[in-house]
Amino acid sequence: MATIYVDDRPYEVDPAKNLLEECLSKGLDLPYFCWHPALGSVGACRQCAVKQYRDENDQRGRIVMACMTPAMDGARISIRDKDAVQFRAGIIELLMSNHPHDCPVCDEGGECHLQDMTVMTGHNYRGYRFGKRTFTNQQLGPFINHEMNRCITCYRCVRYYRDYAGGKDLDAFASHNHVYFGRHEDGALENEFSGNLVEICPTGVFTDKTLKQHYTRKWDLQTAPSVCAHCSLGCNTIAGERYGQLRRILNRYNAQVNGYFLCDRGRFGYGFVNGDRRLRQPRLLQDGESRPVSGAEALKRTALLLGRQSRVIGIGSPRASVEANFALRTLVGSRNFFSGMAPGEEHLVARMLHVLRGAGVRTPSLCEVESADAVLVLGEDVTQTAPLLALAIRQAVKQAPRRQAMQLRIPRWDDAALNEVMQQQKGPLYIATPAGTRLDEAATQCFRGAPDDVARLGFAVARALDATAPPVRGLSREERAAVQAIAGALRKAERPVVVSGSGCGSEAVVDAAAQVARALGGAGTANLCFTAAECNSFGLGLLNAMGTAEAFQRVADGLVDTVVVLENDLYRRVGRASVEAMLASAHVVAIDHSATDTVAGAEVAFPSGTFAETEGTMVNNEGRAQRFYQVFVPQGEVKPAWSWLGELAQAAGRTELTGLRSPDDLLAALGRAVAAFEGLPERVAGASFRVNGEKVPRLSPRASGRTAVSANVNVHEPKPPEDPDSPLAFTMEGYPQQPPSPLITRFWAPGWNSVQSLNKFQAEVGGALAGGDPGMRLIEPVANGAAAYTDEIPPAFRRRAGEFLVVPLHHIFGSDEQSAVAPAVAQRSPGPYAALSPEDAQTLGVQDGEFVEIELDGGMFQLPALLMSSMTVGVLGVPVGIGSLRGVDLPARSRCRRV
């Protein structure tokens, strides 16, 4: 700890930080542009000027940039000094001299860092008489809008996009007053994290194009803390609604999970909430035709199907909340509750959970992955299945070289200097996957092989790390060299992390990753990171549901009268024939938010709410249980799934769900019923939670139009909706100050309208939120002691003539069921294909784009061939969730021929 004096008041600060960070941490307002807590300082914008004095006798002082000056013990600075104030005012006037007269038509207006800083600095009239510099804009794809005139050349965008996110196609062009940030030509920004430019850019150069379709100012959005539903990482988001539509997703800082950033799937994948595929009215299937009916009628019909004497089973869903799944489990009984995950995935999730709760491994948070200094990725295309994990790994790669650079006594925040020393050096990152990944460019070495070979590599690394692990025989010389290199790097590292998951569908790969983590030893260190397919896969896994396949078996055996399917499109899980057999031989009651094929075939369908219209808990890949809150009251007869289940039970005269009328009740019952969730209900801010006796408002105090929004329908305003299920209110009334961290509905502080106001919510800049980061880890290693190694090492993959191993290839845009229908994401989604190595293509005699036919699960699929040079020979990749190829358990062997 060091003491600095700001305007003659002493502050205790961390000498490893710079003055700007520390001033902001202490709540002092100091304007800045180019500095960002995640990007460090470069001293480009000259906005954070303060006056520094040599000692208390120094009267003159000198102007320094706070972001480039370490917070050394005894430093004396003045923010209010006349010269410093004048200097900052001069800088902002220069920055503004070319800024267009655009605020009314700029999407950033009202949450613009440049506006805030201009007001803070006191500049109001443009004194420069001459013309403004202008630029032409570029089309940057469906996500990002480009308006270059507004640029103030702080360089944050390229520093984030290139240095932080590893993007290649955004750069600074031209020179002096003409510096231009854009692509070399029009086209979509390729990087998967381009959406963060919206929040990184201090003004309106990069804005959210999906928001522009239904533009609403920040102050008018009804916002609530939410959790991203598009992958298993559970990034924290703030979802905003206006006029009954979800309008945008913003990042909600959580130092342990997503930090400052979101991936583009999470940010722009919300469109499905407003989509025309939404189910807004219960539907009944009569005479082969599905027609909308009232809730009462649907319930009456369902009551007959769910009666006491009826044999009912329930199929849960990895994309439904823990509460909804548990409500279904309670309704049908745990022996009649099936997970609803694809059988292969289900197996893998159980396996991963088993490993994570066993000895010798601990799963890191994303934040801990960022600080890892050696990473081994086994079998997972992280960028596509868990994008933000890839961003974290890209930061981990910088750890080792940065540590070296810091030995030159360069402070951690001095970004430009560190980059100069680090150049293109990368820390150890080894990737072993069946096909090439977007992360390969950052890797030290990549290994291509079929899933079994990837697993064998992992087992061999474990053996190299620990001689008591079982040996792997028959490795090639290159493989042995790679194993030695990987083992060496992992052994040398202080915080090594192994990343794997269900991405390539192989249990051996999961086991191999666990083996490496165990061999690394050091119980208690976070070293094994798994990803699963969906947002609540692990939460569902912890509920100990029965296998999906058994549900179909039971229906086939005629042991079931009625099946309740919860927010699950079964066609994505198992083969078409199985689902159709089930729909034909049992009464199917489907509850879902969208009209999926399962809903279309169900006898009765009830409309449930999406993540934005309900509240609940999801468990991410780290085992962190996180609550998402309802953002708005949906139109139509949409209700939360657990609410429909409660009404169904009541209508049918069943008592299982009596007394479980809210998510709080369900969570409390869950805490009692399932040991893994013990202690969670007490940690969650439930409906009765109040801050100073008040609810937390979802609307900002500036929210407008209350007396006119519905005036065209009826001039008498309706009563605002009440929320009995959460501590949030659907109005602007309530606790006016910063709420506790799990209930942050928006980032705003007086004078700080932009997302940069986040500084005011953190205990210290860049650190945890004040009051601690939300969420509770449910998975901790339960046993200590020696790790037990598995010796089930698969044999090496051997290709057979004319036959391929079909592996799933994931896509950030398109593979996730929910986000895939969002218009912006759909535009970036690839079409169906069959990816082949050029050698295989030659053998088959197909050219790129020609159709091949593969036989899978009894079905024939024709797909255009895609030649992929990074594809393992003998392996064929098909995209997950794209095209007609659904419900097939991969990897699987298949014959393939040219059409």
Binding site: H101, P104, G110, T134, H178, S704, G705, T707, A708
Partner: protein
């Protein structure tokens, strides 16, 4: 005590003053152009809607009686997809006019807005939009904004230089 008597005397003398009341329906008072009465949306000198849907009026409105939705036309101009004022709530404070950055929303000296049915006091954009620039005849927002719209490319606004040639390194 004396001051009270003096007050009473002064008030009594007012008995002989001429009342200043204006006998309204027969006698119409003169209202200055900046009088704050019925709200209108004006058009710019080129005849296009001035409102760009920036939401500032609705944010400024203390009774929250303005609701709108911003949209963008294919030619790049922003416009309100709908614009609604609930005059049964309006208090004619004029803050919307002060907030408006494009002179689109203006208050007029027409104050005779009575109706027997409150529903009739909900005005939509069609009811609000007039065929003229109102009090500010010359102003066209898009001539000063940096946004490109059809008929005005980048760099064609007042006080703007031609767009930069990014590929040039000349000073």
């Amino acid at each position: 005590m004396l001051s009270m008597l003096r007050t009473i005397w002064t008030v009594l003398l007012h008995l002989f003053r001429r009342p200043i009341t204006v006998q309204y329906p027969e006698e119409k008072p003169y209202l200055p152009p900046r009088y704050r009465g019925r709200i209108i949306l004006s058009r710019d000198p080129d005849g296009d809607e001035r409102c760009v849907g920036c939401y500032l009026c609705s944010a400024a409105c203390p009774v929250d009686c303005i609701a709108l939705q911003a949209g963008e036309r294919p030619d790049g101009r922003r416009y309100p997809e709908f614009f609604r004022i609930n005059f049964s709530r309006c208090i004619f404070c004029g803050l919307c006019e002060e907030a408006c950055p494009t002179y689109a929303i203006q208050l007029t000296p027409d104050f005779e807005l009575c109706d027997y049915n409150r529903q009739n006091l909900v005005y939509e954009k069609e009811d609000l939009l007039i065929n003229g620039p109102g009090k500010y005849p010359g102003y066209n927002f898009y001539r000063v904004a940096g946004l490109a719209v059809s008929g005005k490319e980048k760099g064609a606004s007042e006080n703007e230089d031609k767009p930069v040639d990014v590929k040039s390194l000349l000073p």
